[in-house]
């Protein structure tokens, strides 16, 4: 069963739970920023300025809802390649993201070494993933283990797709975290596809959350296009982890509004009907409608906000494009610590 905020907090779907109107507006702004920034990366790719783009479009509510339940600068995140909205909420700026995309010397993640969308930020406690999927799941358990040994109360949050749950790392990482009762939140962003392969060819269960109890931890499935539901579910998982009660597996059911990446065409494996109907589940449109309904953001305010965000993305793109390339003389840097 997929829970929604109405099941968790009676009346919450009307009021936004205990979140202030200002917080809801901020959530909306982050969702919008992620969307506009993501769309810009595609334009840059099509213009030949970015070799590879992979999107968070359709995952914004799942990521923003979850990240708002975390504490910026304190909690650790190990997002996967769709985690653009996650890292923006955790504190990365659009300029920093663009510096990574353009592989500039001043890219704060890796100085132009790491692939784009393999996000990281040392100060913000964002830890990079590698291209083989799922390896961050075990790292998250390790970070949780270290945090506990060091006596801290930060929680660790990691994300991955439903296809990735077929990898051994998923099983091995979660199992160890569960055995050790580590403060880790495993967020599976289930968009029902792994590139072209549908969920039913990936697993015989209908919900990834069903696997939680098999490891002895709660598994919760939540509507990942509803930012407030994801926030509430994650808030509870964070409380549980901070209390020392252990890990939680959350499945956020989302839609992938783009092709898998800039390298494929999803019209070859998704029907016209599906491509059309998934637009109805656009989390951004959904939250905008909710905020209008609640009189928290007027349509005029939304227009202003969009203009604002677009200007921010313009500025970020320009600043990053002008930044220097890494010097080939530095080719051998960073291979060893000493």
């Amino acid at each position: 069963m997929t829970v929604s905020i109405a099941d968790l907090v009676p009346g919450a779907s009307e009021s936004g739970g205990d979140l202030s109107a200002a917080t809801l507006r901020e959530m909306f702004r982050f969702m919008l920023l992620a969307r506009v920034l993501d769309e810009r990366m595609w334009l840059l790719n099509r213009a030949g300025k970015a070799p590879f783009v992979i999107s968070c479009q359709g995952h914004e509510a799942a990521q923003v809802g979850a990240a708002f339940a975390l504490t910026r600068g304190k909690d650790f995140t190990l997002p996967y390649y769709r985690g653009l909205a996650t890292v923006l909420v955790m504190g990365m700026t659009p300029t920093e993201v663009m510096l990574g995309l353009f592989a500039r010397a001043t890219d704060p993640s890796s100085g132009g070494r790491q692939m784009p969308a393999h996000y990281s930020h040392r100060r913000l406690k964002i830890i990079t993933q590698s291209s083989p999927v799922g390896t961050q799941i075990a790292h998250a358990a390790g970070v949780g283990l270290a945090e506990r040994i060091k006596g801290g109360d930060a929680v660790v949050w990691t994300s991955f797709g439903e296809g990735t749950t077929s990898q051994g790392d998923f099983h091995e990482g979660i199992n160890l975290a569960a055995v050790q009762q580590l403060p880790v939140i495993f967020q599976c962003e289930n968009n029902e596809y792994a590139i072209s392969v549908p969920q039913k060819q990936q697993m015989a269960v209908t919900s990834v959350a069903d696997r939680g109890p098999a490891y002895g931890i709660p598994g919760i499935s939540v509507d990942g296009t509803d930012v407030l539901s994801v926030y509430e579910v994650t808030r509870r998982a964070v409380e549980r982890a901070r209390r020392g009660d252990g890990s939680t597996l959350i499945e956020a059911r989302v839609v992938r509004l783009t092709a898998h990446s800039s390298d494929d065409n999803d019209r070859t494996y998704r029907s016209q009907r599906e491509l059309k109907s998934m637009r109805l589940s656009d989390p951004l449109a959904r939250f905008a409608a909710y905020l209008h309904d609640q009189d928290m953001v007027s349509e005029a305010e939304e227009r202003d906000l969009r203009a604002d965000v677009a200007a921010e993305v313009d500025a970020a793109t320009e600043a990053a494009e002008q930044a220097p390339m890494p010097d080939p003389e530095t080719l051998h840097n960073h291979v060893y610590a000493l």
Binding site: F52, R113, M115, P132, Q167, I195, S196, V197, T330
Partner: protein
């Protein structure tokens, strides 16, 4: 002979072998509906159905293991690994099982498995997405490793690999998929595993290469001819078994050797070839063997850094000049 792409040669061969032998089946990620990340399996699901063209979960260790199990019962699985980077999560199955089961069974059980995968880099794919690992497998007794450079060899070696009774690592190259060449139509044409080929004859220096670097070597040889240097190109085609006699015969003729490969310099394929030449043709050498290989860093994403980290026509020419001094 018809002229087709390397991609088409692979696609045709898979189709022909599926048709010829009901024990052949394909397994891998995105090979069915999507027709392969690089469209090598185009049309095959449609023609042979989901029992013979199996889209797997993202679980390389699992499905390579499954393929080994099936191969022990006499099926001939041809597994696609999206890129060689992702086989690292399955390396225990390949190195500890596929390669050793025949031995550990005292020769009673065979593992007629083929693992196809592109190796090496094109574009900016970064540290964990564009590596060359064929030497890791070539290191392992019990495995056979082939790495064709032309559509002709791609076809002949893939057919040989599928019909072989031992596990074969079939190394492809993203940069070669669109290259074209003559390919025979004969349905039983094979290129024997373990046999190198002199792709261009020359008298001044031997360049030894395989896969994409053979294409680079052929271009460079043409350029050097204009400068009056006659380059012989030995295309290894198989890394294990390694055709040492062909290498040695060429070096004994030209008295100079340059070895080029895309993997990292230390402990890479070029080291093995250089050692072979030293052992078997030392007295014939007029200059030390030159090696051209990858710079020893993880592969960077930034364009300039990425270009600087890989062997190229430029670095090969530099090495040829050096060996000619």
């Amino acid at each position: 002979m018809p002229i087709i792409t390397y991609r088409q040669a692979l696609n045709d061969t898979l189709g022909e072998e599926l048709k010829r032998d009901p024990n052949v089946l394909l397994m891998g990620e995105e090979i069915g509906v999507f027709q392969g990340s690089y469209r090598i399996t185009e049309g095959l699901l449609q023609e042979y159905g989901p029992k013979r063209v199996v889209d797997t979960p993202i679980a390389e260790e699992g499905f390579v293991g499954v393929a080994i199990g099936a191969a022990m019962l006499g099926l001939r699985p041809v597994v696609e690994i999206m890129t060689i980077n992702f086989i690292l999560v399955a390396i225990d199955q390949v190195v500890n099982h596929a390669s050793k089961i025949h031995y550990m069974f005292g020769g009673q059980v065979r593992v007629p498995l083929v693992i196809r995968t592109p190796s090496g880099g094109t574009g900016q794919l970064g540290a964990t997405h564009s590596q060359s690992f064929e030497n890791w497998f070539a290191y392992c007794p019990g495995l056979k490793v082939v790495a064709p450079a032309t559509p002709y060899d791609a076809k002949g070696l893939l057919r040989a690999a599928i019909r072989d009774d031992d596990p074969v690592m079939f190394i492809e190259s993203l940069a070669l998929y669109d290259t074209k060449g003559d390919v025979p139509e004969d349905n039983d044409f094979v290129v024997p595993i373990g046999v190198a080929e002199v792709k261009r004859t020359g008298t001044d220096v031997t360049v030894i290469s395989y896969s994409r670097m053979t294409a680079v070597a052929m271009q460079v040889a043409q350029r050097m001819a204009n400068e009056g240097i006659s380059v012989e190109v030995v295309d290894l085609r198989s890394l294990r078994p390694l055709d040492r006699p062909t290498i040695i015969a060429s070096v004994k003729k030209t008295n100079r050797a340059v070895v080029i490969a895309e993997d990292w310099y230390s402990y890479g394929v070029t080291a093995e070839i250089a050692a072979t030449i030293q052992e078997e043709a030392f007295d014939y050498l007029d200059a030390p063997v030159q090696r051209v290989a990858g710079i020893e860093t993880p592969l960077p994403y930034a364009k300039d850094l990425s270009a600087a980290s890989k062997p190229s026509a430029h670095s090969l020419i530099y090495a040829i000049r050096k060996v000619m001094e």
